[in-house]
């Protein structure tokens, strides 16, 4: 990434689109401090995430939720232990209260009676939903989604998209979604930003993006092999 600038409005969903390997996930990991930039700032509520020490960063991360591409569930723990992970560590709630909250969060993502299963027993779509339940367990203010629909069948993708929209309405979070799934981008985004060659080359509402005059964005959203984007090999 070089010379990248992006503003994420409060309580809105911004979708970052771009080709695989263009650095979208890297950008997302910078936002939560998993990676640090060589130069530049990442301002979250006025604080530069890249300048925080480990303790401050951990405090800041308690306001974040993140859904990973492969869900990243802890495979040695059950679904309930995964979803209740942060609740157990950072709240003084009793195991019974945590169990109740876990059930509620799982219900929010449309799952029930899976609490005692291990991640290996779940399908790809279920894993994503459990990952989503884990990410929203602490009622985060900022939610990051890394390729939420990748690897899912079209119906499950639609279910996940609807879930993201629904959660956004219910929990009023600021969301950043990284995807190359245009159907998903139009469905969930208040704003779409296109990343290309390490920069944000265009941003706007889904409608503005659909009617863009930028040839690169046009080629990408149409999914065409011909155009200014050079495909090697």
């Amino acid at each position: 990434m070089h010379g990248l600038s992006l503003d994420i409005p409060d309580k809105k969903t911004v979708v970052i689109i771009g080709r695989s390997g263009c650095g979208k996930s890297v950008l997302l990991k910078h936002m939560i401090g998993l990676l640090k930039p060589d130069s530049g700032k990442i301002l979250v509520k006025g604080k530069d995430i890249a300048k925080l020490d480990d303790k401050e960063l951990d405090e800041a991360r308690k306001h974040f939720g993140m859904l990973f591409q492969g869900a990243a569930l802890f495979d040695s723990l059950t679904v309930a232990e995964n979803v209740g992970f942060a609740l157990t560590r950072f709240t003084k709630k009793s195991p019974a209260e945590i169990r109740k909250l876990v059930k509620e969060k799982l219900a929010l993502v449309g799952l029930e009676n899976v609490e005692d299963k291990k991640p290996a027993e779940l399908s790809g779509g279920m894993k994503k939903r459990v990952g989503l339940a884990r990410a929203i367990a602490m009622d985060p203010e900022i939610m990051l989604y890394d390729e939420p629909t990748t690897g899912l069948d079209p119906i499950m993708s639609d279910i996940i998209n609807e879930l993201i929209v629904e959660l956004q309405k219910k929990l009023k979070m600021t969301s950043v979604v990284v995807t190359h799934d245009m159907k998903s981008a139009y469905q969930i985004g208040d704003k779409i930003a296109m990343m290309y060659e390490g920069k944000i080359i265009e941003e706007g509402t889904p409608k503005e993006i659909q009617h863009t005059k930028n040839a690169v964005v046009k080629q990408f959203i149409k999914g065409s092999a011909k155009g200014p984007i050079q495909v090697l090999g």
Partner: protein, 259 residues
């Protein structure tokens, strides 16, 4: 030709120093987080069960066969010159076992069994972004993953070694009774004559270091893993090789200082 040889050696030395630096750094972090509250009590006990209970079979076979082989080899050699080898076997077997063989063999076997498992588990967590997920949930991976494994290893390795000392000695007794027509009384009399309690303690002291090496190297290789299944395989192999080498080198250094 000469230049490329020097370049090759230089690269290898730099790589070695870099790896040694990473392992030392993680060791420092593990010590730092060990004393930070709250402790991961549940995880520490789980790891103790994995390292201790689930290794009993392999430790049993290793120690029993070592004690028996030692008695058989030394007994046969002594019998060539002196008759009545059985009366000396108790001292020889127990001394060799407690001072050297049990600690170092258990260390090496556990480097293969536990070190590889630690690296494979943490390595897989790393490549499937589970380690990143921990960080996003404000949880330090060193504290959550490395510290429990470190504490469990430095606690369980001495216990496993005590068990190995006992079993190996009994294995020697079995050979003494059945091959060299010895007596139980004679075997333990010889043991009593040659062995001191500090032989056992010095051996156990070494295993604390071996446990630390296995856990820290295992975790470090795991955290450094990248590149999917192939990466996990490479890290696991290097974890066992590095731990084994470090155990042997540390064994010599500790032996030189302790005796």
């Amino acid at each position: 030709m000469i230049q490329s040889s020097f370049e090759y050696i230089g690269k290898k030395v730099t790589m070695f120093l870099s790896e040694a630096g990473k392992i030392t750094r993680l060791f420092g972090q593990v010590l730092f987080w060990t004393f930070k509250k709250p402790s991961e009590v549940k995880s520490i006990f789980e790891q103790m069960v994995i390292i201790g209970n689930k290794s009993l079979a392999v430790v049993t076979i290793t120690s029993l066969s070592t004690g028996m082989i030692l008695a058989l080899q030394t007994g046969t050699a002594i019998e060539r010159k002196i008759s009545g080898a059985a009366n000396m076997l108790g001292g020889i077997v127990s001394l060799a076992l407690t001072r050297e063989l049990a600690p170092v063999l258990i260390g090496l076997v556990m480097a293969g069994k536990i070190g590889s498992a630690i690296t494979a588990e943490i390595g897989t967590m790393n490549v499937t972004e589970q380690v990143d997920a921990l960080k996003t949930m404000a949880t330090n991976p060193v504290k959550y993953l490395a510290v429990p494994r470190f504490l469990a290893a430095i606690f369980m390795l001495p216990l496993l070694t005590i068990y190995a000392d006992l079993l190996g000695t009994l294995g020697g007794l079995f050979i003494s009774l059945n091959i060299f027509d010895g007596t139980t009384g004679g075997y333990f009399e010889s043991l009593n004559m040659y062995m001191r309690l500090d032989d056992v303690f010095k051996g156990l002291f070494k295993t604390v270091f071996f446990g630390a090496i296995i856990a820290v190297v295992g975790c470090q290789r795991g955290f450094e893993t990248e590149g999917g299944a192939e990466g996990v395989g490479k890290s696991t192999t290097s974890s066992v090789v590095i731990s084994s080498m470090l155990i042997l080198v540390t064994d010599y250094i500790l032996t030189a200082f302790l005796w």
